[in-house]
């Protein structure tokens, strides 16, 4: 194309031609730029703050103090390591129970039955409902004197429990709430996976005389493995970062004995209660590395896996 002929083309046509040629980035760039801007700057800044003694206000000039924040955090057996342990216990406990129960429910609802639409809608409710509402609801249910939980214990002939009022029982109780809230989500993801499986391998195994458990363990489960991994990944990310439930039921610091203080709650307190930005940033960087490590471990064996 010579310059004269391109001059003859009206500007709108040239613009449209340019847009069509560059549509790949024209379409992708705004969303990517928006997200990258909101991530890169804060992460860079957090990295910087983690190496300074920033405290009180981020406007106050902070001194560069090298890795001492990291050393302080990593040797802190008072708040940091217990928070790491609680994060691990909460995430692992909730995830394991949700997987087992979710799989059981998915298998239970797999083959069609009358009223299945209503059953599926009703199990959708726990995890689409606002987490703050769910947390409030369980706070009242587990209220030792007037709550529904101790009434149910009474019907079952069991002694009433202190639930969230007892530091020792807090974490298991909160794991229970998380399991109640998100088992349906795991079940629905697994159910979607089950419905795409071919019938033939299961049929063949049945004709060969395999029992229910054998058919599940050796036929269904291996075929379902990719879907299970997706469910694990999604739940692990969210469980590690659980905030709403813990903050609404136990407040800042995770209760008077920090019994519900996970890393996320700990960092929130450091940032917005103590304004201890340097230390908070160091904890955040460590927390983020932990999440990446978990993700890496989970996707390690899946070559070419997409998130």
């Amino acid at each position: 194309m010579t310059s004269t002929s391109s001059d003859a083309v009206p500007i709108s046509t040239r613009l449209s031609r340019w847009a069509n040629q560059h549509r790949k980035w024209l379409f992708a760039a705004p969303a990517m730029a928006f997200t990258a801007m909101l991530i890169c700057f804060p992460v860079g800044w957090t990295l910087y703050l983690s190496l300074t003694d920033a405290k009180g206000s981020v406007r106050r000039p902070a001194d560069f103090i090298g890795i001492s924040n990291y050393l302080r955090v990593l040797t802190d057996t008072d708040r940091f390591w217990p928070a790491v342990a609680r994060t691990g216990v909460f995430t692992f406990g909730a995830l394991a129970l949700e997987l087992v129960l979710g799989m059981a429910i998915a298998l239970l609802l797999w083959r069609t039955f009358r009223g299945q639409r209503w059953v599926r809608v009703s199990i959708l409710l726990p995890f689409v409902a606002t987490p703050v509402a769910i947390a409030m609801m369980w706070r009242l249910i587990f209220e030792p004197n007037i709550g529904f939980a101790n009434r149910v214990m009474g019907w079952l002939g069991l002694p009433p429990q202190p639930w969230l009022a007892d530091p020792g029982m807090t974490l298991p109780t909160l794991i229970f709430v998380d399991v109640w809230e998100f088992t349906p989500m795991v079940a629905i993801i697994l159910l979607a996976g089950l419905s795409t499986l071919p019938d033939e391998p299961d049929e063949a195994a049945r004709i060969d005389g395999a029992g229910l458990w054998q058919r599940f363990w050796y036929v269904t489960l291996p075929m379902l493995k990719p879907v299970v991994l997706v469910a694990v990944l999604l739940r692990a990310i969210d469980a590690l970062k659980t905030f709403d439930l813990l903050y609404v039921t136990k407040g800042q610091g995770g209760g008077s004995f920090h019994e519900a203080e996970t890393l996320n709650i700990y960092v929130y307190g450091l940032s917005f209660k103590y304004n201890d930005f340097g230390v908070a940033s160091a904890v955040l960087i460590i927390f983020f590395l932990m999440i990446l490590a978990v993700m890496w471990l989970l996707t390690f064996r899946r070559k070419g896996a997409k998130l």
Binding site: L26, S122, L125, A129, I188, D199, K241, L307
Partner: protein, 294 residues
Amino acid sequence: MSTAQTASAAPAGTGVRPARRRRAPRAKAYSAFRATMIAVVVLVFVVPLLWMVMASFKTNVDIQNTAKTFSFTPILDNYRHVLANDDYLGFVRNSFVVAFLATGISLLLGVPAAYSMSRFNMHKSALVVLLARIIPGVSLLVPWYYVFANLGLVGGYGVLVISHMFILIPISVYIMMSFFDSMPRELEDAALVDGLTPIGAFLRILLRLSVPGMATAAILSFIFSWNNFMFALVLSGANTKTLPVAVFDFVSYASIDWGAIMAATCIMTLPIIVVALLAQKYIVSGLTAGATKG
């Protein structure tokens, strides 16, 4: 609800007839067992929610009365109290404004991005967007607060919309990518042969065909924005508080008035329940997008 099928109608089609006939009594027992288990599952997930709804219609005296767990005289005082006090309707409006704006703009940015990422296999670029789903929100809040406060934005709708978009764009991109992935490439080729430009083909053909996908992305985006607590907790001002923050504050400041709190949580959850009932299919397909083609 939840009546299992009888054995004769059980798993359709592929059956080995003689074997099934031999096991008929067992199959019947199994289907009764299955129906019972399904009923138990439904009860476990629904009863706590029902109990919350019932508590919202009780006086605080009745909430404390063990004898009145299920039999009580329903009252509307809690709802009247909530709707009269605390500018609650203003918080409802805030939640709607933020959720609609954030959902709309996220789709505007997310749908074309998802198309490009799917069409041109930009998996590395997609990872940038999806990284937003992994990163802990707290790590962003301090820098965001600082920047937005300097720009004079904290306490306005804008900053809430931006922070929610940060969550919603990855959701839209994730859902729409798997939607575009499943769309045959020939559709676009045919449109090009017919003389449309690539962008024309996207706007006139592909977008129209992806309405179900966009509905899915919009519904899930709306739910996630409506439910968001942590970002609004830090970034909202007295006049832009969204419902979750308002309900949370209700507990911190009032002496614990459980009846009113339960009424407030019921009002907050109602729109989500309505959406879930009307759009169950879309919610399920959105949550499982990508999961089934691992």
